[in-house]
């Protein structure tokens, strides 16, 4: 292959996380900060989220507007954003093989930031039986079809899922001029803001089938219906020509795995410490690849946070291994998942079962480090829980794993 070209920091993925990291690094004066994205346009997932939901409460933005803001910020700061370039595999501990229209290139760096994002599990991965007709989507494909390409999607759709992204999918279906026949979830209730769930159900008249599993897709050529089963045993066929499988995110961890980075069992993304350093010195990971998925703001915050750690590393700082941070059931994951005394990045967690008035406890070798009552009355699956990092100074770096429990 070709000779290696050297840069200072190579960021893989120009979504919110990667762009935020690049912007801060370039602004801090790092010489060559290069961001690669395999798509023709930078911006990541927000590119095709024509709906609002990005930006801040005071400055709400649509996805595309938010993406443009981040791209401009990174480029103004001096980062180089290269689109249509795929990072294929590792060429060394801190070097990657890439390919684009100009051919293959090996790029080496002093630090690598993985910001490769996440995807929704498609129908096959969910093992939904039946035929293989046309008209089966994920939200990502649906949004691109409708918002980026103006494609027709059919006339009657079932949306599988009832979390934020599912409601975004339902909006997109309606934008495309099709009707949402029903939304389904195997959970007992929707996992979105109550006002949004209510508005969709009552004002838009879209029924929400709770406690309901999709058991089969039917139709030859084009989808003709979705079979569902309620937990009480009742079954039905919902006639439709389109079905959207939403949520159920998995990190795009291909590069992390191919590089042999340690993965976290709870997230399936790379394991990281409080500075978002992976198991390989000099390789950092940020955004949805760590936790599929949290808000874009979380991804961008991690990008900026990791940039700080990259700067320290470039200045010669040592990496501290830290100790494992374990989320005990019913918690199903926590990020970061290693801890070093003095870490400052707040933690994001998920629970597998709903809990009311939850209390989080952090312990090490039986010693209580921290106890925190949530200000939200409930903790729900598919909704983010956060934990402050104020307690990390009390961690014994030579002690055992730190455990987080919820009750």
């Amino acid at each position: 292959m070709s000779a290696t070209r050297e840069v200072d920091v190579l960021v893989v993925g120009a979504g919110p996380a990667g762009l935020a990291a690049a912007a801060r690094l370039a602004a801090a004066g790092v010489g060559r900060v290069e961001v690669l994205d395999r798509e023709q346009e930078a911006g990541g997932v927000p590119r095709h989220c024509a709906h609002g939901g990005y930006g801040t409460l005071l400055h709400p933005l649509t996805g595309p507007a938010y993406a443009r803001l981040l791209i401009t910020a990174a480029e103004r700061a001096g980062a180089v954003v290269r689109t249509g370039v795929t990072a294929l595999d590792w060429a060394g501990p801190l070097a990657l093989h890439t390919v684009g229209p100009r051919g293959p290139e090996t790029i080496g760096a002093r630090a690598v930031v993985l910001a490769t994002g996440a995807r929704e599990r498609p129908r096959a991965a969910r093992l939904v039986p039946g035929t293989r007709p046309a008209g089966v989507y994920t939200t990502g494909e649906l949004q691109q079809a409708v918002h980026l390409y103006g494609q027709r999607i059919g006339s009657r759709a079932v949306v599988v899922g009832a979390e934020d992204v599912s409601y975004a999918a339902a909006d997109t279906v309606r934008t495309a001029g099709a009707a949402v026949v029903a939304m389904t979830t195997d959970l007992p209730r929707a996992r979105t803001a109550p006002a949004r769930a209510l508005d969709t159900r009552l004002r838009r008249g879209i029924p929400l089938l709770t406690g309901t599993t999709v058991t089969e897709l039917v139709g030859h050529g084009r989808l003709s219906g979705v079979r569902v089963r309620h937990h009480d045993g009742r079954t039905a066929t919902l006639p439709c020509d389109t079905v959207v499988f939403t949520g159920d995110f998995v990190p795009d961890h291909e590069l992390a795995r191919r590089g042999g980075l340690t993965l976290d069992a709870g997230t399936r993304g790379p394991a990281v410490d409080g500075s978002l350093h992976t198991s390989r010195p000099g390789v950092f990971a940020v955004g949805s690849v760590l936790h599929a998925v949290e808000s874009a703001a979380t991804a961008a915050r991690e990008g900026a946070h990791a940039a700080g750690a990259v700067l320290e590393r470039l200045a010669g700082a040592e990496r501290h291994e830290g100790v494992p941070l374990i989320a005990e059931p019913p918690l199903c994951r926590i990020v970061p998942n290693r801890v070093t005394p003095g870490d400052r990045l707040p933690y994001v967690l998920r629970t597998a079962t709903p809990l009311t008035r939850p209390v989080l406890r952090v312990t090490q070798n039986g010693r209580l480090l921290h106890r925190e009552r949530r200000w939200t009355p409930t903790a729900l699956p598919n909704r983010t829980l956060t934990l402050t990092a104020g307690w990390t100074g009390r961690v014994d770096p030579k002690g055992g794993p730190v455990r987080v429990t919820i009750s």
Partner: protein, 456 residues
């Protein structure tokens, strides 16, 4: 116009026959297919193994045609760029009874002219397959068993046939067949076709067409096989085709690598009456996962990228049902059950022989221009890995489908090829676009835009 020969059914078998006939410049040949693409029947949904025929019923027609076909196809694949990997098979014995059966299988292989099998003990077995589940006692190693791309194979035959003058009639289901003045009259959804000779390669419907011609020799009972395809990240878990020791119902559930870099788990074997029942079922998938967990536990942690089912054209008999009816200028190619991909080229030779014996004057034969097919195999350089190709045309460096690393150049080539795809599924079989772990989350809309011609 009257064709010399009409071949009904553009599966791997019909396409191979049409290709064989295309060697004779004087013959006017029609290849007549009900669906909108070649290879849309059983030929698109199988286990993709290029068999040696080691376990066929010795002395049967199938045994001979599989053995010969396997060799012919391996050579043809090398010439045409069809990806093949000779990974070899291991028949794994998990209990004493299966262990006791291994020597008999080795003997059977001998009788099928396969002399290279060898028994291997557990230590050797686990060294060859470190991720194999615990408890395997021994295995029979069958070198020569290979994996192949079934879609490229069918497409290569059809492409060569069409380039050498065969008329491909798609969307032309033969609804009736009759004979008038020594000519077959085929009524299709798109008008009438006439041919002096008729070859029935209609797969699951070969019995129906046979009845149109007055024969009641066999009936086809579809035997469904469901399969799971696992992500490319699972490929390192397995090196050989891991076969179970066969049972009465079929070859049982296997784990095999694919030339596309995935891992297959399946197939089931379910006798049905519905010839359209190509859906998967919850029970089928649960059974496969249970078997898969035993064979290769790590596999179950990987993402599934596709679930599909194919129907074997099983009949009352344990052999192919290939017969000539010279008085009717007609050859039936029925009951090509679970080995038709492997045997296709030998079946085509056999059928051409039957036709000429029955009186078809084929005239002289020529060598065909090889069809150089786009490579979908991971063991060979794909376009994105070929700097010289990208330098000549940057479209090969512009990836559209990221999971499978399919470039815009490959999609463009498929859309302008001899037999262009009729839909996105056909495009997937030709390029792998949308066949990966995201199933279109990233690229689905972009691929569709290219297909619909608005993405330029």
């Amino acid at each position: 116009m009257t064709y010399d020969v009409a071949v009904v059914g553009a599966g791997v078998v019909g396409c191979a026959i049409a290709r064989a006939l295309a060697r004779h410049p004087r013959l006017r040949v029609a290849l007549v297919e009900a669906q909108d693409d070649v290879g849309q029947g059983t030929s698109k949904a199988n286990t993709a193994i290029l068999h040696t025929g080691f376990d066929a019923v010795p002395g049967s027609l199938e045994a001979r045609l599989v053995r010969e076909g396997g060799r012919l196809l391996a050579a043809y694949a090398a010439e045409s760029g069809i990806p093949v990997e000779e990974v070899g098979a291991l028949l794994v014995a998990w209990d004493e009874e299966q262990f006791a059966a291994l020597p008999r299988l080795a003997e059977k292989a001998e009788r099928n002219d396969h002399h290279a099998t060898g028994l291997i003990g557990p230590a050797d077995l686990y060294e060859r397959e470190p991720h194999l589940g615990p408890g395997a006692l021994a295995a029979l190693h069958v070198p020569g068993e290979s994996v192949i791309c079934p879609w490229t194979t069918t497409l290569a035959y059809a492409t060569q046939a069409v380039r050498h003058g065969v008329d491909l009639h798609l969307n032309s289901r033969v609804e009736r067949a009759s004979r008038q003045d020594d000519t077959h009259v085929l009524t299709t959804g798109r008008g009438t076709l006439r041919a002096r000779w008729l070859v029935n390669a209609a797969g699951l419907y070969a019995d129906t067409l046979d009845r149109h011609l007055g024969h009641h020799d066999f009936s086809v009972t579809p035997r469904r096989g469901q399969l799971l395809v696992f992500d490319k990240l699972a490929r390192d878990l397995v090196r050989h085709i891991l076969l179970p020791v066969p049972t009465a119902l079929g070859k049982g559930v296997l784990v095999a690598p694919t030339v596309h870099g995935n891992v297959l788990l399946g197939p089931t074997a379910e006798d049905l009456d519905d010839k359209r029942a190509t859906g998967s079922t919850a029970d089928g998938l649960a059974l496969l996962r249970e078997k898969g967990r035993r064979i290769l536990p790590g596999l179950l942690d990987e993402e599934v990228t596709a679930v599909y089912a194919g129907l074997r054209a099983a009949t009352e008999q344990d052999d192919y049902r290939i017969s000539a009816h010279p008085e009717q200028a007609y050859v039936t190619v029925g009951g090509i059950r679970s080995t038709g991909l492997t045997a296709s080229l030998a079946i085509a030779e056999h059928v051409t022989g039957l036709l000429t014996e029955a009186g078809l004057d084929a005239g002289s034969a020529r060598d065909l221009e090889p069809a150089r097919m786009p490579n979908l195999g991971e063991a060979f350089p794909r376009p994105y890995q070929r700097p010289e190709l990208i330098a000549a045309d940057p479209e090969y460096g512009t990836l559209v489908c990221h999971c499978e690393r399919v470039s815009r150049g490959e999609i463009r080539d498929a859309l302008t090829s001899t037999i262009p795809p009729a839909g996105l599924d056909g495009l997937r079989r030709r390029t792998r676009a949308r066949a990966g772990r995201c199933q279109g989350f990233y690229c689905g809309a972009a691929v569709r835009a290219l297909f619909e011609g608005v993405g330029e």
